[in-house]
């Protein structure tokens, strides 16, 4: 499993807006000990992920499976005594993974829905009719145009095309 270690990887992560916590990690293991997913999925181990980053195992970390078990529940982040912000580092890793075109299917579905409808969970015609019937009125309008403009400006659209 050990790929060729790349010394700068830890700093690449640390320079990501959500990744600087990796510099504080002392490998105490409290994050993994607290993680609800680590308890049931052996492969998901926040401390180990931080360790792999520190060791520079770039291609082992940036894959389409490893960083995607995280629930972003922030239990690890809250319990880390050193400000390692593991939950935030997870986001940084995912952002970096996405840039390399590795995106899990479920997330791609959400992204496509966002681009097409301006929201992740969309309404059905049936749901709209029922809302009217029950006196709830229409759902709040969504400005899809604005969403597309924003996502084009940030090149989000290119990111998700890369993954498909």
């Amino acid at each position: 499993m050990l790929s060729h270690p790349q010394a700068y990887f830890m700093h690449e992560v640390a320079n990501n807006p959500r990744g600087k916590g990796v510099l504080a990690c002392i490998q105490c293991g409290r994050c993994t000990s607290s993680c609800p997913v680590a308890r049931v999925v052996e492969e998901h181990n926040p401390r180990k992920l931080m360790e792999m980053i520190i060791l520079g195992l770039r291609s082992d970390v940036l894959n389409e499976r490893l960083p995607w078990y995280c629930l972003s529940c922030f239990t690890c982040l809250d319990r880390c005594p050193q400000g390692g912000d593991v939950g935030e580092v997870m986001f940084a890793i995912r952002n970096m993974t996405v840039r390399e075109g590795k995106i899990p299917e479920g997330i791609l579905v959400q992204a496509s829905s966002l681009f097409e409808n301006g929201r992740v969970v969309t309404s059905s015609k049936m749901a709209s009719i029922q809302r009217e019937k029950r006196g709830l009125g229409k759902e709040p309008t969504v400005d899809v145009e604005a969403v597309r403009k924003i996502l084009t400006k940030t090149r989000f659209d290119r990111l998700i095309n890369k993954g498909t």
């Binding site: 504080a24 002392i26 105490c28 293991g29 409290r30 994050c31 993994t32 000990s33 607290s34 993680c35 680590a38 308890r39 052996e42 181990n45 401390r47 180990k48 319990r79 880390c80 005594p81 050193q82 400000g83």
Partner: protein, 434 residues
């Protein structure tokens, strides 16, 4: 120039400073807030790494203090005001009423035997009980009883049975004024309350205790006579875990003790060895981040703990402790450093090693004396390199753990006590602030 000194705090550091100064011929007023001197060392069973009986080392010093012609022991007293400057301080001390005449009491204990009321025993970290009229602990110095008026039901029995007629239920607090040339602060430490770190269950689970509570359980003069039993039902635990760094090395804002408390790894190993000595077939695990066993004999002690005593050292900081309500046993979730998977271990007793924090009352005392404290509330040194025992006020010195985790063990406290005595002696002898 007053050739006298007030030492605030009767722990081992304060005691050492007092003795050195007294032996040099200076007058020492040793002010101690609790009813007896001795401090934390008096609460311990054994010291590390030599496994000497703590009280056996300390008691002779305590007695020397009480008998020394140059030491006036002001126990159960507090400093209320300090004016003046180096060479000439006026210190007001409030002597709290014991409701027992110190001159008459012989320490026989008949009053306590007859007292009908019980209250939690502070010296035993509230594990055991004591009576409303009580002796703080068997080796207390001064060996004088006191009445806790809050628990007292005013039945008057103690007064009736006291053979020395020492009970004085109408005693008033007494304020005395002392003129001294220097002041020594030796107020020691408290333990951080680990109930803030909720997932460890302290305060919620009976069998999760803090290290000082363990010391009292292990100590022969403690509430169980030195038998280690579980708080829940009194059975002997066979599976014990220690968790290090509970609050120490923690940078989170609501905890804010980013420092290493410097003695917990050592005392945990000591306690683990003690437990194994008591119950040889018990399983003892220490969950640590780093094993900081620096200095004389400690690494060797740790090595022995592993090889000779079979203590399990697990390099992992646990995530959660949960309780089995039927048995009051604890389950610790942690990442096993060998298999790299999350495991759970069952224990009968879990000991948390909390961060060491400044003594409560420190902020108030600092204000009275005009000395500065650092961000964690420990005494700030005038110059940490060149004058590490001077406070920011000339003529006021400090020693022991009130300086913070620079103190690594009891010999360090004693060394600092002597060193501070040296600093004070120069001030008193030469009439100069240096």
């Amino acid at each position: 120039m007053q050739k006298a000194v007030v030492v605030i705090g009767g722990g081992v550091a304060g005691i050492q400073a007092s003795l050195d100064l007294a032996n040099r011929g200076f007058k020492v007023y040793l002010v101690e807030r609790t009813p007896s001197i001795g401090g934390r060392m008096a609460q311990l069973d054994k010291t590390f790494p030599t496994m000497d009986c703590s009280m056996c080392i300390l008691a002779p010093k305590m007695i020397e203090c009480s008998h020394h012609p140059n030491v006036q022991l002001l126990s159960y007293s507090e400093v209320k005001e300090a004016r003046g400057s180096v060479g000439n301080f006026t210190v007001k001390v409030l002597r709290k009423p014991r409701y027992v005449d110190e001159r008459k009491c012989t320490g026989c204990g008949i009053c306590s035997e007859n007292c009908p009321t019980e209250a939690p025993n502070e010296f035993d970290e509230n594990i055991g009980v004591r009576k409303a009229i009580y002796m703080p602990f068997p080796q207390a110095v001064p060996r004088v009883a006191l009445i806790d008026k809050e628990s007292c039901v005013e039945c008057g029995l103690c007064e009736k049975v006291c053979p020395a007629g020492a009970v004085n239920r109408g005693q008033q607090p007494q304020e005395i004024e002392l003129n001294v040339g220097a002041i020594v602060v030796a107020t020691g430490y408290d333990m951080f309350d680990p109930s803030v770190i909720r997932h460890f269950g302290y305060g919620r689970f009976k069998n999760v205790i803090s290290a000082m509570e363990l010391e009292r359980l292990l100590c022969a003069s403690g509430p169980t006579g030195g038998h280690l039993i579980r708080p829940s039902e009194g059975k002997i635990p066979r599976h014990i875990a220690f968790i290090q760094c509970v609050g120490s090395r923690d940078r989170r804002e609501w905890i804010d003790h980013p420092y290493c408390s410097s003695i917990c790894c050592k005392y945990a190993v000591k306690d683990a060895v003690l437990i194994k000595e008591h119950e040889t077939d018990s399983r003892v695990s220490i969950f640590y981040i780093d094993m900081r066993a620096f200095g004389r004999g400690f690494q060797e002690f740790v090595n022995r703990a592993k090889s000779e005593f079979g203590i399990e050292f697990i390099r992992s900081n646990p995530g959660e402790i949960s309780e089995d309500p039927a048995t009051s046993n604890l389950v610790i979730s942690f990442e096993d450093p060998i298999t790299r998977t999350v495991q759970t271990n069952r224990y009968n007793l879990v000991v948390l090693c909390p961060a060491l924090i400044p003594s409560k009352g420190m902020p108030e005392l600092a204000k009275i004396l005009g000395i500065e404290l650092d961000n964690y509330g420990f005494v700030k040194m005038e110059d940490s390199v060149r004058k590490p025992l001077d406070t920011t006020v000339p003529g006021i010195f400090c020693c022991g753990y009130c300086l913070g985790p620079k103190t690594g063990d009891i010999p360090d406290s004693i060394t600092q006590g002597s060193a501070t005595a040296g600093r004070v002696a120069v001030v008193l002898a030469t009439e100069e602030a240096i």
